[in-house]
Structures are given as C-alpha cells and as structure tokens.
Symmetry: none
Subunit: 190 residues, 4 copies
C-alpha cells in the first residue's frame, strides 16, 4: 500500500467525500468513486486496504485539517476571551466556508459510518481548546461546567448553522456571525 499524498490518493479521497456528501455512504460505490477520481477501481486498493479504511483515513485527514484551521493565529498565551474568540471565529470560518468538509464531518459524527477507533483519534486535536477553557474556569471567567456542555453550547451550534446554510435556507452575514458569537459567549461566561 502506498505512502500518503500521491495525487491519485488525494483524488480518491476527494471523490469519496463528494459522493458521500451528495448521495450518502450507501450510494457511493467504489466504482463511482474510482470513475470520479479518474482511476481504475483496482487502483483504490493500492492506496487503501478497503472501503472502510479509505473512509476512516478521509475522516482523520479532514478532521486534522479542521483542527489545524481551528487554532490558526492562536497562542495559549492569549487572554481567555480573546483566545476563545479567535478559535471560535476560526471554526466558524471553516464550517461556513469549507462547507463540504464540514458537512462530511457532520455525517461522520452522527452515523455509525466511522470506526470507533478513528473517532477517538479524531478527538485528540481539541486539547488546546480544553486547556483554554480550564484556564478560563480557574480565572473565574467561564462557568465551572463540564467541557461537554461548553462544547455543546459554543462550537456544536455552528454545525447547525452550516447545515442550514447548505440547504440554502439561510445565509450568514457578519452581523449574524457577531450575534452568534455573543450567544456562544453568553452561554458560558460567568
């Protein structure tokens, strides 16, 4: 099996993401994925062990790109609220502009599509945010509640806004984004 980041490998991952996004896992056969990537079905198995492996790898790479984006320009030395706003806006930016990736992650996180193992690996990237929240709680700036709640009320809502926007029911402008941030912050600040 080949090493990362050949052009074909990337084309295959992109094709997989597109087909799963548009048709769902159950209607994204290997033959179509190969065709969309401009490659023979047999070639897929030079890069991936099987379909599940390909989807797992895709998940992890998208998750990694998401995490990287989330902490752009952030440093743990920032004051709590400033640091939080930077991360939040990074994430919002990703969810609302890289809609395809965000929608794919949302599918993965809400279905039994991904192996439990890969799911766990995908979680580790979030640590800096958890650290920030802990600091905020020590400093008496953020409510002393479970990080699950903090995540549920600040980051997770962005997934809903992304989905709404994708369904063309709703378009987010800057004012709305500011309202959204206020809501997020208000829900967790002390």
């Amino acid at each position: 099996m080949r090493v990362k980041s050949s052009e074909k490998r990337i084309a295959l991952l992109e094709a997989t993401l597109n087909l799963i996004n548009n048709n769902g896992f159950h209607a994204a056969p290997m033959s179509k994925i190969a065709k969309l990537a401009g490659v023979s079905p047999a070639t897929i198995y030079l890069y991936f062990a099987n379909k599940q492996d390909m989807v797992n790898q895709l998940y992890l790479e998208v998750k990694a790109s998401f995490s990287e984006h989330a902490f752009k320009n952030y440093s743990p030395s920032f004051p709590v609220k400033e640091g939080f706003e930077i991360i939040w806006r990074n994430i919002a930016d990703y969810k609302l502009h890289q809609v395809e990736e965000a929608y794919f992650l949302s599918q993965c996180d809400n279905t039994p599509m991904i192996d439990e193992e890969s799911r766990q690996i995908g979680l580790i990237h979030l640590q800096p945010l958890l650290n920030l929240w802990e600091r905020g709680q020590k400093d008496g700036i953020i409510k002393p509640i479970s990080p699950y709640l903090l995540y549920a009320y600040t980051i997770y809502p962005l997934a809903f806004l992304m989905t709404s926007q994708k369904s063309a029911h709703y378009q987010l402008d800057n004012t709305t984004l500011t309202h959204a941030f206020s809501a997020a912050w208000d829900s967790i600040k002390l």
Copy 2:
C-alpha cells in the same frame, strides 16, 4: 381472509430503526430488517413501496412523536421563560431518554438519507416554539436574532449531549441538566 395487522408495520419500522442506528443505512438490508421484524422480505412490500419509502415514513413518524413530546404540558398562554423551559425540558427529556429515536433523527438530519420532501414535512411541527420566541422578542425578553440562531443555541446542543451520552462518554444528572438549561437561556435572553 387475514387482516393487515399494523403490528407488522410497526415491527418493521422498529427493526429498521434499530438496524440503521447500529449499522447505518448502508448496512441495513431488507433481508435483515425482515428477519428482525419476524416477517418475510416480501411482506415488507405490502406495507411500503420500497426501502426509501419505509425510511421516509419512519422518519416522519419518529419526528411526529418527538414533536408531540416537545409540547407536552405546554400552552401558548404561559409566560415566555416558563413556556420556554417547559419545551426545552421536554425536548431534553426525549433526547436523553428516548436515545434510539433521537439518534435516528440525528442521523436523518445530518445525511442525505431522507427525501427532501419528507424533510420539509418534518419541520412544520416546530411552529409553537417559533411563535413563543417571537412573543419573547416582542416583549424584549429574548434577543432580536434569527430563529435559526435561537434554535442552534438552545435546542441543537441537546443533540450533542445525547450523542455523547450514547457513546457512554458522559452521563447527565439533574444538576448538569440545570446547567445546560442555564447555558441555553443565557445564550438567547436579553
């Protein structure tokens, strides 16, 4: 002549929900559904036109049961905050106790598994909540922001808590639930 018992129909819908929840749409074949429901594969087609139709119907019925639950004991004559808390707690109760149904809805809402038409039909039940919010905004109790935001920051987070709980990562007690409600209310109250 035998009569078409709605028992079989219900058994089929339950089997479908279980299999899709555990394995995903793509790994819930009609043969397994039939076996789990205790009928012949052919019998499915006496009750549903095809697989998609069965899933659509299941979605709409679960959605309806969810909505019914959401507005239990609620009346539009309640004060805004009290009314909101009742609805919110109803929904929390459903999501955290009828986990299977809630998880199924979450899968449906985050994948292309359901027909767009059924999806639209599923939305209409929410109207009383939208009305409540509108009243709250007129009365200067709730922030004058889009209902998409209000939903994203008060109801949608419960889906995350449900998923977390289902993955056995986290158990919600009453204190946490109260924290959750505070976070929800803080995010939208003026």
Copy 3:
C-alpha cells in the same frame, strides 16, 4: 376446481390473453391478471390448477373458437374449390377481424409457451380441411403434395398478414383479400 364458463373464469381468460398479447408471457404476472379480471389472485386457483394450466386452457378454447369459425357454412358435400374458398375466407375473416385471438394463437404456436399435449389436442380440429384436400388430390384438382405444404402455402400466410395489419404497417381491403386468395389457390391448384 370450478366447472367451465363462470363469468369470473371467462374474465380471467380474457385478462390473460390481453396481458400476454401486450407484454408477453414473461410480463403477465398472476397478480396483474387477477387485477385486470377484477378478482383476487387466490380466486384464480379456484378455476385453474396453476398458471400453465390456465394458459393451456386458454389456448385450447381460443383454438376451438377459431376452428368453429373456420368451418362455418361449410359442408363436405361442396365442390373442392368452393369448399376451399369458404374455409379460406372464414379463416381470413377470423385472423383479420379477431386480431387479438389470432395474435395469441400465433404466439402460442411459435414459442414453448404451451404444453406439447395441449398443442396436439389443438390440431385435431383441422381434419375437415385435410379431408377436403385429400378429395381435391384424388380428383386431380390439387397438387399431390404433403398437407404440411398445402397448409404452409394457403393458411399460414394469413398469420403474416394479420401480424402486419396489427403492427399498422398495412391494411387489407377486399381487393387485396381477393389477391391473397388467388395466390393461395394458385400455389396449390394443379
């Protein structure tokens, strides 16, 4: 199993003939036949042992009606040519006016749709025509050749004209019919 000529039995045979004619045997399921006859699928089995039996019976009855028609107004006492013309015109009349029945017989006679046994039974009706030919041959009016040839060149061509007419490629008027009879007679007369 019921006796002949109940209304339902006849409706079933008619429905069968129509569906097989329009769609072919392979696309004429019992359920459709029942629906078209206005009857429950189970009812079919009160009148016929199974599908094959129903088709066999249909074949034999249509064949009988055809034969009856063929010898209308004919008597063995007629002179050879007159007798032959009467029979020939009777058959032509049937093939060109009872197109559905004729087309059905044509399907049966050119496919393995019918049991060999029923096929044999269907042949016996033709005897008077064979007798007529034999007389004609004894009298030196008709060529001394096998009755298979006589049939092939006088009666069988009408099946082609029937099919052509059914396909709307061609319409037979009286002049043409007379030409057709001349061709038939010329081919076998001495």
Copy 4:
C-alpha cells in the same frame, strides 16, 4: 490487465438463444444463461446493459446473419426468376438447416419480446428482395400485388415448414423442397 474477449460475449448470446428456444423468454433467467455460458452472472453486465438489451442485440445479430445468408451468390443482374430462386433457396437452406436461429427469429417476430426499435432495424436487410420483386412486376413476370403478399406467400411459409420439421413431425427432402418452391413461385408468377 485482461482484455474483454468477444468469446464471452458470443458464448452469452448462444446461451441466451438456446435457453429462450427451449424454455421461452420467461424461463431463461440470467443465472442460467451465465452458467450455460460459463461466466458469472455479473459478467453479463460487462457486455450488455440488461437482459432486454442482450436479447435485442441477439435478435439483430441473428437477423443480420440470416440476411447475409439470404443473398449469398445473388446479384441484382440475374434474371428475375433465377434471382428469386437463388434467394428463396438460400432462405430455405437457412431455415431448414440453422433451425435454432430460425426458430429464435420466429419467436421474436411473433411475440412482444423485442423492442419495436430493434424490430424496425431488423427489417432493412430485405431491400434487395423488394427490389427484385419490383423489377419482376415491371417486366410483367410477377403479379402486381403488395410486397406484403409476395412475402407472405413465398418466404413466410418456410417458417411453418421449419417449425414442423423442428417438432419432428415432418422431414423435408429435396423433392419436397422443389414442390415447395413451385408452390411459392406459382402463387406470385403472372
């Protein structure tokens, strides 16, 4: 990489013809066709879009081989009667020696088994015979009647003789064939 051998395609068409001839379209399932051709059921779909497409293609190829045979050693420069006899004997030879192909064509032409489009395409090959007849009519050798009649009384009877022979009811020797030709010619000559 293996190359798509036309051997498999041909084996599939032959298997289809055999099974349809012996059992009828409705009793020639893809699984049996595959087995008889020595390939997997899935392989069929590398060569044909679906069952109907396979049967259509088979029809057209058999029809083409028939037509080629029909005009062997024929040239439009031949005198009318000689030319006609050559074609007629070619066709007789085909029908009586390539019985399987002939019987298959007969099934196709007398049932709704074939798409109307393919049926039309199958007709174009006959043109040289039509031209010959037209010439014969201009020269006052052949009766001035519709080509449908000419076909019905000269070519079509051979289908009956073929079917009779196939049912082992009758064997054609050379004398009989000469009688048959006489009958054909007598029916249309002026």
